[in-house]
Structure formats: structure tokens, C-alpha cells
């Protein structure tokens, strides 16, 4: 429906505030916007049913974060209740300190951390469902072709497993199997394992049949070795530059020159490797007007968030300690977060279950 580059921009526009802000109100808005995107356009994808699993995983993570924070942090002025305190000492070192005073502030901090985790998880879940993995793979730079291929297989693995798990569950339920305890899970996992192995073998065979991993004849053995040595040298140069910048800051020019030289060497070598990989295109993606609209919205959103982060970081920050106060909400940032739902607004009119 949208261009792959548009989706990549969308991912960036959603991920940037999720990473930068610690304000629960912005995170809640972002979460809601992502949920709207998932439950509307995301439902066109065959993998859309994995939403519940991601949501559950996110909620478990958030609960753990809240519980951990509540039990281990005893700071904050507003004490809600006092639990029995459990402290383990190793000599004078308190290795474990649980319970005691439970404060509203630690609850707020735990909730914010949990919200941030859930937001990041759901953004990736939504991106996974929305983007076409094959098209995404085609966007990877040539030298990264093999890595990109493997990554895209890995990324598609979880949703595929979830959908096959549901299929097996349904099939077993039809046969009269009921899942009550751990023992009853065996008829679920055995078929899952065999399906997974079967799929892996099929994938390997089909990749081999298409010549994946074969070395092109133009690259001789000596040339390969040279390329590897050059990459290692360039990476070592970058490391040395970082080291020089930290410990010999009196001569900044040397570290900058070293870093630039190493980076140029790395890019050159990778481009040379990429030239060896030949890829054909059967189908060219179309860049439509709606792609332009969504891209502009995402870009503006990123600019606003980054602008606030650079100029007024306090607006994005929320810190409940030492005394809880309600977080601020800036309407400009709130509106910028709405860029996440622009793909929904700009989408063409269509009937139900009729994918583009």
C-alpha cells in the first residue's frame, strides 16, 4: 500500500519519541496511535493475528518492570503502604533489599519504564506487520545482501511461528483435544517442532536452488582475503580513533583524521564487495502522492521531536522523584505524535479485506 521507504520513515518517526521521551502522557499517546495504525491498516496483513501475543508479552514486561521498581526502590516522599522488608546481607553489602516502604513515585517510575518498553515492542510489531519483508530486503545495500536476507528470515520467524501455533491449536481443538495443564501442551509442541524443522529445510533447499551463498567467479580467493583484511584494518582504525578521542583529547585533529580515513576505507571496501553482488529487478515500487504526504508528516514529526530534545529536553523528560507531580503535556509534541496515524488517514478508500 505504501512504499518501503515510507514505512522506514514511519518506523523512525515512531521510534524516535519512544526512545527520547520518558513522559508517560506522550508514551500513552504514541501507544494509542500505534494501536490505531495496527488495528486498521495492519489488519490487511495475513500476519495481523500476532498482535495479541505481542500485547501480552509487552504487558508481562511492563508488570515485571512495575513490580521490580516497587519492591526494590524505596525512594520518594509519598508512601502508599509499607511491606515487610527482606534484606540479604553479604558482609556489609546489601545484595538484596525487597519490600519496605512502597512509594507512589516508584510506581510512577516503573509504569513509565513499562510503558516505554511496551511502546517500543508494539512499534516493531506494527512495522513487521505493515512492511513487506521482501521489499525491505531489496532495499538493503548490496554488500549487506546476505546479512539482510538472514535478518529478514529471522524477523519473519516469530510471526510465522505464532500463526502456525494457532493453526495447530485449532486443528487439535477440532480433534477434541483440550489444553488444561502443562502435560497437555505436548500435542501442541511436537507438531510445532516438526513444522518448524520442515519449513527450515524447505527454506534452505529453495535458497540453495536459487544459488544463495555461492561465490561469484570474478572474486578470486586472494581478493577475498584482501577485502577481509581491509575491513579489519578499517574497523581497528575506527576503534583507535575512538580511543584517541577519549584519552588523548589534546590532539583532536589526529583522532578525527584517523576516524575519517578508516570510515572511507570501510565504505570503499564494502562498496567494492557490493559490486560483486548482482541483483535483478522485476518490479519497481511506485512512489505515490500518499507516500509523499506520509513522509512529510513523519519527517516533520521527527524534526519537532528532535528540536525539543535539543533545545528544551525538559519538555520530554519526566522524573517522579522525590515527590510525584503530574507530567506536563505539550500540545505541539502531542500533535507531532499524530504523524504515526497519517498512513491510516492517507490510505485509499477500500472495502473490507481487500488488500492493495
Amino acid at each position: 500500500m505504501y512504499h518501503t521507504v515510507t514505512w522506514m520513515l514511519w518506523l523512525f518517526a515512531a521510534l524516535l519519541p519512544a526512545m527520547l521521551t520518558r513522559n508517560p502522557l506522550y508514551l500513552a499517546t504514541l501507544l494509542l496511535a500505534v494501536a490505531v495504525a495496527y488495528n486498521t491498516i495492519g489488519r490487511l496483513s495475513p500476519m495481523a493475528s500476532s498482535w495479541g501475543v505481542f500485547l501480552k508479552a509487552g504487558l508481562i514486561l511492563a508488570t515485571l518492570s512495575v513490580l521490580f521498581n516497587l519492591l526494590t526502590v524505596h525512594y520518594g516522599d509519598t508512601v502508599m503502604f509499607t511491606l515487610p522488608r527482606l534484606t540479604l546481607h553479604l558482609g556489609r553489602l546489601a545484595i538484596l533489599d525487597l519490600g519496605g516502604q512502597t512509594t507512589l513515585e516508584s510506581l510512577a517510575y516503573g509504569l513509565t519504564s513499562g510503558l516505554s518498553l511496551v511502546a517500543i515492542l508494539l512499534i516493531f510489531a506494527t512495522f513487521n506487520v505493515l512492511v513487506d519483508h521482501h521489499r525491505l530486503l531489496r532495499r538493503t545495500p548490496a554488500f549487506l545482501y546476505q546479512t539482510g536476507m538472514i535478518t529478514s528470515i529471522a524477523v519473519a520467524f516469530v510471526p510465522q511461528m505464532v500463526s502456525s501455533l494457532q493453526e495447530i491449536r485449532e486443528a487439535q481443538a477440532i480433534r477434541g483435544h483440550r489444553f488444561r495443564g502443562i502435560r497437555n501442551l505436548l500435542p501442541l509442541f511436537v507438531p510445532l517442532l516438526t513444522t518448524g524443522l520442515e519449513r527450515a529445510i524447505q527454506l534452505a533447499e529453495s535458497m540453495e536452488a536459487r544459488g544463495f551463498g555461492s561465490v561469484s567467479t570474478s572474486r578470486s580467493k586472494g581478493r577475498q582475503t584482501l577485502q577481509r583484511v581491509l575491513i579489519a584494518t578499517a574497523l581497528f582504525g575506527l576503534l583507535a580513533a575512538a580511543f584517541a578521542r577519549s584519552y588523548y583529547s589534546s590532539v583532536p585533529l589526529a583522532s578525527v583524521l584517523l576516524a575519517l580515513g578508516s570510515a572511507a576505507l570501510l565504505v570503499g571496501t564494502l562498496m567494492a564487495i557490493g559490486r560483486g553482488v548482482k541483483r535483478s529487478r522485476y518490479h519497481r515500487e511506485l512512489w505515490r502522492r500518499r507516500d509523499t504526504l506520509v513522509s512529510i508528516a513523519c519527517f516533520t514529526s521527527c524534526a519537532i521531536t528532535a528540536g525539543f530534545w535539543l533545545r528544551n529536553p525538559n519538555a520530554l523528560f519526566f522524573y517522579p522523584y522525590p515527590r510525584f507531580s503530574l507530567p506536563d503535556f505539550n500540545a505541539v509534541i502531542g500533535l507531532a505524535l499524530l504523524a504515526v496515524v497519517t498512513p491510516v488517514l492517507a490510505a485509499p478508500k477500500m472495502r473490507r479485506h481487500n488488500s492493495d
Binding site: 502522557l25 500513552a28 499517546t29 494509542l32 496511535a33 494501536a35 490505531v36 488495528n39 486498521t40 491498516i41 489488519r43 490487511l44 521490580f68 521498581n69 526494590t72 526502590v73 525512594y75 520518594g76 534484606t87 546481607h89 553479604l90 558482609g91 556489609r92 553489602l93 546489601a94 533489599d97 513515585e105 517510575y109 578521542r245 577519549s246 583529547s249 525538559n314 523528560f317 522524573y319 522523584y321 522525590p322 503530574l326 506536563d328 503535556f329 505539550n330 500540545a331 502531542g334 500533535l335 505524535l337 499524530l338 496515524v341 491510516v344 488517514l345 490510505a347 478508500k349 477500500m350 473490507r352
Partner: protein, 383 residues
């Protein structure tokens, strides 16, 4: 960051040193600032489980802490004027990995060898025992020999045994408010200075022997300073009169209700050590018979019938809205042509009241949430 990283480097804390002076349960504290000045204090030991952070808290020094390390405990970002203003700055803002790395280094004294030991754990994780000495120094802290160690001061020097003052003499107390009487909404400074002090509490909370509090009471408030030393327990009271804004007492009311504007300074040394509850009135209060304070206040209230109506107007928004709406409906009745603008007025008024009570940010948040739900409802039918 370094402090927390190092927390895992050194795990042993050395032998537990007990330099218990007879009958005292105290902990020494030495803080060295960047300008070389040194703060020392002797803190009461509160019992097992007291941590280095508690010691620092009770010293009365102003602290900025970073609690975002969760179970690792708090990081000390700033003590008094040295350090970083978390969360505006990073807690270890002068330690960015590039160049000098300054932070509050935390030490404890190994009293057997007479050396400072760089603490392998954060102050929240390090439990202290009575007789310990804790040290803090601003600068480049390092494990094993740091160039910013606090000066070596022994526990005996920090917390001299109380037998040094053999004759129990009553405390000499100065307890004053400046100004002694204020109007509602204004503030006053309560100062005290206690010589021969043991333990000093103000309204039940432990305080330093010589300190001040900036207070803004809404109503007449009494402060009670209790001094406990070897000679006994002494109690001092100080009342700050708060005049209600328009509630001028009628001339027939008791003259003592009119508060004095000069600060009450009292220097008192009570006659018998066992006496408690000695009330120290502001010195310049009139020589009228000592009426109990609460009664005076109550009389002043009942003497002014205007208080009730004043409170009603003070409540502001709900009352105001009712009032404005009433006038609006009046206009509607007289001129039906203005009906539309009145409706707009009402919406604007509601928005204004909403923004006033909830804050603009909360309203914006609610508006954006509603907008998202609307988008969802519309798009759901489409896909």
C-alpha cells in the same frame, strides 16, 4: 556512572570496626568540597540497616540524588554547591569519559589502619555501624588511592565523648520569628540557636542546634522547640500570628487579638531542669492577662461576620461560573438575537474553566486522545 560501575568491582568491605564510645551510638561524617572546605558532623546512629545515604541525609546538607538506577540505590549528584543538577543535567555531568571525571567519591574510614577506603558500593548499599566514619570528596575518585580523599579525622575527634562536659547546664536558647506576625499569604522566618544542646526537635522533627525555617502558615501557628540534653528536657513555644486579610476585628474585640509586628526574641534559661512545657511568648506581646491563644483566634473569627461571605467569593471558579451564567441568561431573555454568541461564550467559558482546573496540557492530552479514538472509529469501518 563510575560509582555504580565500581559497585561491582570491590565486594569486600573490610572488617567491621567498632569504636563505640561508652553510651553513644553515633556515626562521623566528613565532606570535602571542591574549594577545599570541609564539613564535619556527628550523626545519631538510628539502628541496624542505616546506610551511608541515611548518614548524609541526616547531616542536613542539601542533596540532589538520582534514583533512576532502581535497585542499585540512589546516586549522589550534588552536595550543597558542588555537583550536577539532576535531572536537568546528567547525574555525573562532569564525568563524560572524555577528560577529567569529577564526581562525589564515597569513602569509609578504616579505623585500624587510619586510612580512607574508597567504597566499593554506593552509599545506599553500604550499611554503617555505630562508631563508623563516612567520607565524601568531590573530584577524581578512583579505586585504591584517590587524590581527592577527605582529610583524615578520627571518630573521637568528630564525635567527642559527652563526658567532656561534666556539669549538666541547661540550654541557652534563642527562638524567634521574623516577623512575628504576618498577614495571610505572607511568610516568616523561624530562627533558633541552642547552646548546650543535646537533641533539638522542632514540632517533633529533629533539627540542627542552629538553623532556620522559612514558613508560610495559612493560620496562626505555634512552633514547639524541644531541647533534650544532660540537664533534662526543655520546651519552648513560639506563635506566629496570621491576620486574615479583610477580617479586621471590631474595636470591641479583645485587644490581644491585634498582633505585634516586631519579632519576638527570647533568651531563656529555665530555672529547674525537670520543668517541661515552658511557654515562651513573643517578648513584645501586650501585658494583658495571658489568654490562651486558640481562644483568641476563635474570638477573632466569630467577631467578624464578614468571613463567611469572603470565603464564598474566595472559592472562585464554580461560584464565578454560576454568576456569569446567570448574567448571560439574563441577556438572552432581554435580547434573543444574541443567542448564538451567548452559546459561544458559554463554550469558551467552559473551556476556560476546564483549562483552569485541569491545566492546558491535560486538556490537550484529552483532546488528542479523543481525536485518535475518532480516527480509529472512522478507519475501522473502512478497512
Amino acid at each position: 556512572m563510575l560509582l555504580t560501575v565500581f559497585a561491582f568491582v570491590v565486594a569486600s568491605a573490610g572488617p567491621a570496626t567498632r569504636a563505640l564510645a561508652q553510651g553513644t551510638q553515633r556515626v562521623g561524617l566528613v565532606v570535602k568540597f571542591s574549594d577545599g572546605s570541609v564539613f564535619t558532623d556527628c550523626i545519631d546512629y538510628t539502628g541496624p540497616g542505616m546506610t551511608g545515604e541515611d548518614v548524609l541525609d541526616q547531616s542536613g546538607l542539601s542533596l540532589v540524588k538520582d534514583f533512576s538506577y532502581g535497585g542499585l540505590g540512589a546516586a549522589i549528584c550534588k552536595i550543597e554547591h558542588d555537583g550536577c543538577n539532576y535531572p536537568r543535567q546528567h547525574c555525573f555531568c562532569q564525568c563524560s569519559g572524555n577528560g577529567p571525571c569529577k564526581y562525589w567519591a564515597y569513602f569509609y574510614l578504616n579505623q585500624q589502619e587510619g586510612v580512607w577506603v574508597y567504597s566499593g558500593m554506593g552509599a545506599s548499599g553500604h550499611t554503617v555501624q555505630a562508631g563508623d566514619v563516612e567520607g565524601w570528596a568531590w573530584g577524581n575518585g578512583e579505586v585504591g588511592g584517590s587524590d581527592v580523599e577527605p582529610p583524615l579525622i578520627s571518630f573521637e575527634e568528630l564525635c567527642p565523648a559527652p563526658t567532656a562536659t561534666p556539669d549538666p547546664s541547661p540550654p541557652v536558647v534563642e527562638f524567634e520569628a521574623d516577623p512575628g506576625s504576618i498577614a495571610s499569604g505572607q511568610c516568616s522566618t523561624v530562627r533558633w540557636s541552642v547552646k548546650n544542646a543535646g537533641i533539638v526537635t522542632l514540632n517533633g522533627a529533629g533539627v540542627l542546634p542552629e538553623d532556620a525555617r522559612y514558613v508560610c502558615p495559612e493560620e496562626t501557628q505555634t512552633f514547639e522547640l524541644i531541647v533534650l540534653n544532660a540537664a533534662g528536657e526543655y520546651s519552648y513555644e513560639l506563635t506566629i500570628e496570621v491576620a486574615q486579610p479583610t477580617a479586621t476585628p471590631p474595636p470591641t474585640a479583645t485587644p490581644t487579638a491585634a498582633p505585634s509586628s516586631t519579632p519576638g526574641v527570647t533568651s531563656a534559661s529555665p530555672p529547674s531542669p525537670t520543668s517541661t512545657g515552658i511557654s515562651v511568648e513573643p517578648a513584645s506581646s501586650p501585658s494583658a492577662p495571658p489568654t490562651p491563644r486558640p481562644t483568641v483566634v476563635a474570638m477573632a473569627r466569630t467577631a467578624t461576620p464578614s468571613i463567611a461571605s469572603e470565603e464564598e467569593t474566595d472559592v472562585a471558579e464554580p461560584g464565578d461560573v454560576a454568576g456569569v451564567e446567570a448574567t448571560n441568561t439574563a441577556t438572552v431573555l432581554s435580547d434573543p438575537a444574541h443567542q448564538e454568541t451567548v452559546g459561544m461564550d458559554r463554550i469558551l467559558l467552559l473551556l476556560g474553566v476546564g483549562a483552569g482546573t485541569l491545566g492546558f496540557g491535560t486538556l490537550a492530552f484529552i483532546a488528542i486522545t479523543v481525536l485518535l479514538v475518532l480516527i480509529y472509529v472512522r478507519a475501522r469501518a473502512q478497512f
